[in-house]
């Protein structure tokens, strides 16, 4: 008998429907699987056979052929165990075929018949709903994740025996045997609220951080060790506007594919703070592996990617950030195809100003200008190019440190940011833009209008302050954000000069990097 079970596989974030075709025919015992299968998929044969035996189903001698269609797409993972088992049982007549129609099956099967969780459940279930497949059967451990999609009925047995019983029962009664899962309500996500009211002083950095978030500008912090760069960076997620439902689903899907879905907490509601160590591998940063899993840049989608000690990262690794910073996604090409993961993150980086870290403190810094120049120019050019803001973090004095009151809280900063975001929403209503930083080309000049006096000021600044031509548009965008924060329609002179003040890194690249030269890297 020939039957087909509905299943699916993930190609990066893209869900591809898979039909598990099972044919059972009389003849010499034979069990063959086809369909461009990865080795763990092939192993399903052993798992399913033994699992069936252990739930008491004796396979009669017959020829079993399983095809995972479409046969030209590479299949990986262990999610096909369940549809295969159910398919074989159905083809053998143990389950009425109508009972399996309209259900999407995914799940791994253990030798004892227990059902084990798989990754990437959320995007698969989302896709199932899109295809009008409103009933899914998957392992108990994946129940909460699938239940997030409210429109889909989720049946979650913990054992193959349970699945078998359920499917044998009458359609109208079976849901009393295994009740459909209810969506998990996230429990008190308000733990450890890191707030800016805990940060003493540092007005320059606060201002810089506010600008960065308001307009989504990438930020670089330069300062001595212990000044609080990491402390401040950790508090940035707290002043990011709350995740919308779509953003939350998108982000949770990424985490699911990465295998980082946490059953206890369910949907992600707090923006994550992703801070990879500078020894991270290329793959860890951008994603990779033979079957690529999302990397840090994707785990920071709609959130903050913090690179501490920027100068310690391998230059080659940092250069990989070029594509995601431009396109807000990352494409990973492999033998089996191209995988695309989203990567729309706010980049925040921190570095010391010199090898000893204490410049310009004359009491502690003894670095020569050459050493400083060499240290700064080690930082990858393409990354510096895409930094919009550079702030200096000063060492905090002892009196300030003990000051516990009077520091602005995150809530106050967030209010201003939301107001600025609001202005941007209104301004870009019928355009593809959301933030000032996204403006490109002629649109920059269109939305960031300058009067003659301001234009002259900018020109003078270019000649006297060693700014690069790329900086022109960036300054305009930052000035636009500053004006938005000040609730101003027009860009005033003081907005411009402040924006100019944030462009320190243009002077760093003297010897080591020439943006015009293709294929940079010493």
């Amino acid at each position: 008998m020939f039957v087909t079970m509905e299943s699916a596989t993930l190609n990066g974030m893209e869900c591809i429907p898979v039909k598990v075709e099972v044919d059972v025919a009389p003849g010499m015992p034979f069990f063959e699987m086809v369909g461009y299968l990865g080795s763990e998929v092939r192993e399903a044969r052993e798992r399913v056979r033994v699992a069936l035996k252990n739930i008491g189903v004796e396979l009669p001698p017959c020829r079993i052929t399983v095809n995972l269609a479409p046969a030209g797409v590479h299949k990986a993972g262990t999610a096909f165990d369940l549809p295969m088992a159910v398919g074989i049982l159905t083809a053998l007549g143990r389950i009425p075929e109508e009972h399996t129609r309209g259900i999407l099956f995914i799940g791994e099967v253990g030798l004892d018949g227990s059902l084990r969780p798989v990754t990437g459940v959320l995007p698969v279930v989302q896709d199932a709903r899109k295809r009008q497949l409103n009933h899914c059967m998957l392992p108990k451990a994946n129940e909460g994740e699938a239940a997030v999609i409210e429109e889909v009925r989720v049946t979650a047995p913990s054992h193959l025996g349970e699945a078998l019983t359920y499917l044998q029962m009458d359609v109208n009664e079976r849901d009393t045997y295994l009740t459909p899962a209810k969506p998990l309500l996230p429990e008190g996500q308000e733990e450890e609220k890191e707030d800016f009211s805990e940060v003493a002083g540092q007005e320059e950095v606060r201002r810089g951080v506010e600008l960065a978030v308001a307009g989504s500008h990438h930020l670089l912090m330069v300062g001595p060790p212990g000044a609080g760069k990491t402390m401040i960076a950790r508090r940035i997620p707290g002043i990011l506007p709350p995740l919308t439902k779509e953003e939350s689903l998108e982000l949770s899907a990424v985490y699911s594919v990465a295998g980082k879905w946490k059953e206890q907490t369910g949907l992600i509601t707090k923006r994550p703070f992703v801070s990879p160590h500078h020894t991270i591998s290329d793959q860890g940063l951008t994603g990779g592996g033979r079957i690529p899993k999302p990397g840090a840049v994707s785990l920071a989608h709609h959130a903050v990617l913090f690179l501490d000690e920027l100068g310690e990262f391998r230059r080659r690794t940092l250069d990989l950030l070029r594509q995601p910073l431009e396109e807000k996604k990352i494409h990973l090409s492999r033998a089996f195809g191209t995988y695309t993961y989203p990567a729309d993150f706010l980049l925040v980086a921190a570095t010391n100003p010199c090898p000893c870290g204490y410049y310009p403190d004359p009491l502690r810094c003894h670095c020569s200008p050459r050493e400083i120049e060499r240290y700064l120019s080690k930082i990858s050019g393409p990354i510096l190019d895409r930094m919009d803001l550079c702030v200096e973090v000063a060492p905090v004095s002892l009196q300030l440190l003990s000051k516990t009151e009077g520091n602005e809280s995150s809530a106050v900063m967030l209010r201003r940011i939301l107001q600025a975001r609001d202005r941007q929403e209104k301004r870009y209503r019928n355009t593809p833009y959301h933030y000032n930083s996204q403006l490109s080309g002629a649109d920059t000049l269109k939305y960031c209008v300058l009067e003659e006096a301001q234009k002259k000021l900018l020109e003078t600044a270019f000649h006297t302050m060693g700014l690069s031509a790329r900086a022109y548009h960036k300054i305009l965008k930052v000035a636009r954000t500053i004006a938005d924060l000040e609730n101003c329609d027009e860009i005033r002179q003081e907005h411009l000069t402040e924006a100019i003040g944030y462009r320190r890194m243009d002077q760093w690249r003297g010897i080591a990097y020439d943006p015009e030269k293709k294929g940079d890297g010493l």
Partner: protein
């Protein structure tokens, strides 16, 4: 008081014909000044060393004038045949060579405890008949240090004093530049070959010294600078001078090492006092506490050093400040009573706030947080970060301030120097 040194062998007579051999001896690996001088004392001349017999060499080895290694190197070097050609190339490059016994070898240097066996030079040697003062100090100096070095050097040079230093960044270079600009003579002693300009940023000074002054080094031409070369060259700087002027020095610095050498050589040390708590004046103030003489003005320095000596011989004494009052007024620093006009007051182009911020800036960079604090201390107003950045950027655009790539803002030194007319 000049001390007798132990090793001086001035009895080895010098002839022009010996030059190629001296050059050869310099190039023998592992043989430095001390060894060379003691060998010369034994052998009498470098030619003799070149032609020495095995037995003589064995003797030298037994008397421990040479180590085993040095002996091997010497033997290997003796195989070289084209000494004269090598020496000619040196001459063609305009590099002169002064062994210890050369008549032009600076007399003051001969008497130091450990004189260089050979000096290489470009340009003119310091005139032994004229007074010489070495001006040394910190490499990353403050505005105060920079100004003082400039003023002292200029005033001294105008009186005919030769300025000796190391051509380094900071005080050294500024002092030498000032001397040249005043039309005087300056000599730079290098920690590398005389044909190499180090540091690169002082290329202009290097060229100026070639034209108007001199460059010396005890290292072979072509030697790249190495940190270990700098302390020994400092002994030459102080050795060439009558006195040392220390403008700014940190507590543990190379400058203080030079001071020790100067004292060993019996030179006088003058020190500029500085603010207590300023790390750049810590070394100086410490020296004063240990008994060094203070320098209050170039005039005073000159009086102390050269009163009654050849400098004030009739007809040679020139007043550098034509038309200014004599040195009785002690409340204003003499140096700045100069009536030389420096151009219009460029701070007039600054707004009130910008001017106040300009006052707060210094030559060494300060971070924005510090500037905000000092600004509010200075004029009682407080600025938001945005307001501060606005003022700073305007100052940069007007040329009054600069931003350091590594962080911080500072005064633009050129703007300041061109604007040095003080209003009452």
């Amino acid at each position: 008081m000049k001390m007798e040194s132990q090793n001086v062998i001035t009895s080895v007579p010098w002839t022009q014909g010996q030059q190629p051999y001296y050059y050869w001896l310099c190039r023998v690996q592992g043989i430095g000044s001390k060894t060379a001088l003691s060998l010369l004392a034994q052998a009498g001349s470098p030619e003799h060393i070149y032609e020495s017999t095995e037995q003589e060499q064995k003797q030298w080895r037994e008397r421990n004038l040479l180590s085993e290694r040095q002996l091997q190197n010497l033997c290997a070097a003796r195989r070289e045949r084209n000494l004269h050609r090598e020496h000619e190339t040196l001459q063609k490059r305009g590099i002169s060579m002064y062994p210890l016994s050369h008549p032009d070898y600076p007399a003051s240097l001969r008497l130091i405890p450990d004189p260089p066996a050979v000096l290489f030079g470009k340009g003119r040697l310091p005139d032994q008949e004229k007074p010489s003062v070495a001006i040394i100090g910190a490499r990353s100096c403050s505005l105060y240090g920079r100004t003082m070095a400039y003023e002292f050097a200029r005033a001294l040079a105008k009186e005919g004093v030769q300025i000796i230093s190391g051509m380094a960044r900071g005080i050294d270079g500024i002092g030498q530049k000032a001397a040249l600009q005043a039309g005087g003579y300056s000599c730079g002693v290098l920690g590398c070959g005389v044909d190499i300009c180090y540091p690169k940023e002082n290329q202009e000074l290097y060229d100026g010294l070639l034209k108007q002054g001199g460059i010396l080094s005890e290292y072979l031409p072509g030697t790249q600078p190495k940190p270990v070369f700098f302390p020994p060259r400092n002994r030459i700087i102080s050795g060439l001078a009558d006195a040392l002027l220390v403008v700014e020095a940190r507590q543990k610095s190379g400058t203080l090492i030079t001071v020790d050498m100067a004292l060993e050589q019996g030179r006088e040390v003058y020190v500029l006092p500085g603010r207590i708590g300023d790390p750049l004046s810590q070394g100086c103030n410490q020296l004063i506490a240990q008994g060094a003489a203070m320098a209050f003005s170039p005039r005073e320095l000159l009086d102390n050093l050269y009163a009654g000596t050849r400098l004030f011989r009739e007809g040679q004494h020139q007043n550098p400040r034509k038309g200014s009052k004599p040195a009785e007024n002690t409340d204003k620093p003499q140096v700045f009573a100069c009536s030389e006009s420096a151009g219009p007051d460029r701070t007039e182009a600054l707004t009130e706030q910008e001017r106040a911020l300009y006052e707060v800036l210094d030559l060494y960079p300060k971070g924005p947080e510090q500037l905000r604090r000092e600004y509010s201390d200075w004029c009682g107003q407080s600025l938001t970060p945005a307001q501060l950045m606005d003022l700073l950027v305007r100052l940069c655009m007007k040329g009054a301030a600069c931003r350091e790539p590594a962080g911080g803002f500072r005064k633009n030194a050129q703007f300041f120097e061109q604007n040095r007319r003080y209003k009452k």
